[in-house]
Symmetry: C2
Subunit: 238 residues, 2 copies
DNA sequence: TTAAGTGCAAAAGATTTGCAGATCG
DNA sequence: CGATCTGCAAATCTTTTGCACTTAA
C-alpha cells in the first residue's frame, strides 16, 4: 500500500505559501483551505465567519491582512461583481485566465473563458500604445433556470400560455406581456417599441435561430436570440 | 438674432430628469451638470466636494441617494475600477456601450469599444442558456506616456541605453534590466525565464512586429508586441 | 534570535437610515 | 396639498492601523 498523504491539502497549501516566499501560519493555511475547498466566491467577512468556526481566536484584521497579502503575492485573486452588495470576493489564482457571469436573480456565478480579450489588448496597443496587463470581464444577466422561472412567473400572472419570443416559430403571433432585461438593454427594447401589450409576429429565424426577425407596429426588426429570450409573449390563437 | 439659450445644460438636465420620471431638484441638476461637464470619472465623495462649492448646504446623504437613484433610473452609469482606491465612479449613461482602461501608474482612463463582447454573450447563450444583459470590461496596464517614462527611469537607474524588448531589431542582443507587468503576466514572464540579468536576443519580428520572437537561455520564445513592451533591455554593443 | 505575523481594540472610511422640515408638481 | 426630497446627525458596515505579544524559520 502506498503511503497515504494525511493532510494533502494542508501540505499543498504550505508548499504554495513557501513557493511564494510567505510564512506559513495556521491562519493562512486555514484561509486558503477554506477558499480552495469552498468552490464559491467568498468575501472577507464570509471568510472571517467561516474561519472563526475552526479557530475562534482568529481576528478580523488577520483575515483582511492575509487576503491582501495573498492577493499581492498572486496566490489569490480578488474579484469584483457589480451587483449589490458590492464587495470583493476571493478565489485561488488559477493559471488559466477566466471571467465571471453572475445571475441578477439568483446570484449564481458561472465562469467562462474569453480569448477575445487578447485581441482587444492588441488593438489598444496599436491604437493607443497602451499595454494591458490586467483584464476583468464581468457579465450579468439571467441564468437558464431563472429565465424559465421568469417565464413561469409571468404565465401565472397573466393566466395564459406565455412563451419567450425566442421560442416562437415563424408566422406565430402574440402579445408582449413582459419585457425583461436591465438598463441599456431594456431601454433599447423600449426604443424598438417592444412594450407590454404590443402585438408581435415572428417573421423568420436565421439558421441557428439567430437572429430572430419579427414585426411590431409595422416595423421589421430583429434581435439576437439571447435578447429575444427576455421578451415574454402570450400566444394568440388564430 | 436667435434667442440665446441661457442655461442650455440646466434645461437639458431638467428634461432628462422629467423624461425619466424623476423630480428635478436643484441638487439633482447640480450633480448631473457636474458629471456631464467634468468629463472625468468622479466618485461619490469627489462629487460631494465639488457640489459643496456650488451649494454649501448640500448633504452627503443627498449625493449618495441621488447617485443611487440616477443609476437605477438609467441616467447615470456606475463604474468600478479595480485599482486602489477601489470605489465606484459615475458617468452619464451614453447610448453607445463602452469600457475602460486605467493606467496603473498615472491613473489615466481611456475608453474603448469592445464589440467582441457581443460574441461572448452569444456563446454563453448557446452553451449555458444564459442571457447577458449587462457587461463590464475593465482593463488596466500602462499608457504610452508611462511606458516611455518607465523606460527612461530604468535607463537612469542602469546608466546605460535602455530600450524595450518590443523595439529591438532582429539580431540585436541585450541584457534584461527590468521586467514590468503585474500579477499573472509578470508570473508568466518569470516562467519564461525573462528575469533581470538574463541575456536576450531577438530572432525575428512578424510582419506587424507582432509577435516578437527571441532567444533566452537557449529557448526560442515569443511574446506579443504589447507584452514585449514591458521588458526593458540594456543593449549589448558587439 | 528576530523579522514577521497575530489578536485586540480603536480608528478611519464609505454608505445608509431615521426624522423633522422643505419643496416639487 | 401630498408625495417626495433634503439636510443633519447618528448608525452601519467594511477595512485599516497601532501596539503589545507570539511564532515561524
Amino acid at each position: 500500500m502506498l503511503a497515504v498523504e494525511r493532510k494533502p491539502t494542508s501540505n499543498n497549501i504550505r508548499d504554495l505559501l513557501k513557493r511564494n516566499a510567505l510564512r506559513s501560519t495556521p491562519q493562512r493555511v486555514l484561509l486558503l483551505s477554506l477558499i480552495q475547498s469552498s468552490g464559491k466566491h467568498l468575501d472577507a467577512d464570509q471568510l472571517y465567519e467561516l474561519a472563526r468556526r475552526r479557530d475562534d481566536k482568529i481576528g478580523r484584521a488577520t483575515v483582511y491582512r492575509n487576503l491582501k497579502r495573498l492577493v499581492a503575492a498572486g496566490v489569490l485573486r480578488q474579484r469584483f461583481f457589480e451587483e449589490p452588495p458590492i464587495r470583493s470576493y476571493y478565489e485561488m489564482a488559477t493559471p488559466a485566465e477566466h471571467y465571471h457571469f453572475t445571475c441578477l436573480r439568483c446570484g449564481k456565478i458561472i465562469e467562462f473563458a474569453c480569448p477575445e480579450i487578447e485581441e482587444v489588448g492588441q488593438r489598444l496597443y496599436h491604437i493607443h500604445g497602451i499595454v494591458v496587463s490586467h483584464s476583468n470581464v464581468t457579465l450579468s444577466g439571467y441564468c437558464a433556470t431563472c429565465l424559465r422561472e421568469i417565464e413561469k412567473g409571468v404565465e401565472d400572472q397573466v393566466g395564459e400560455k406565455v412563451i419567450s419570443l425566442a421560442k416562437l416559430s415563424p408566422g406565430q403571433s402574440g402579445v408582449i406581456v413582459y419585457v425583461g432585461g436591465e438598463g441599456r438593454l431594456r431601454r433599447r427594447f423600449m426604443e424598438m417599441g417592444l412594450i407590454k401589450g404590443e402585438k408581435i409576429t415572428v417573421e423568420r429565424l436565421a439558421p441557428l435561430g439567430d437572429p430572430v426577425e419579427f414585426l411590431v407596429k409595422g416595423y421589421h426588426l430583429s434581435l439576437r436570440q439571447n435578447e429575444a429570450t427576455l421578451i415574454q409573449v402570450e400566444l394568440s390563437t388564430l
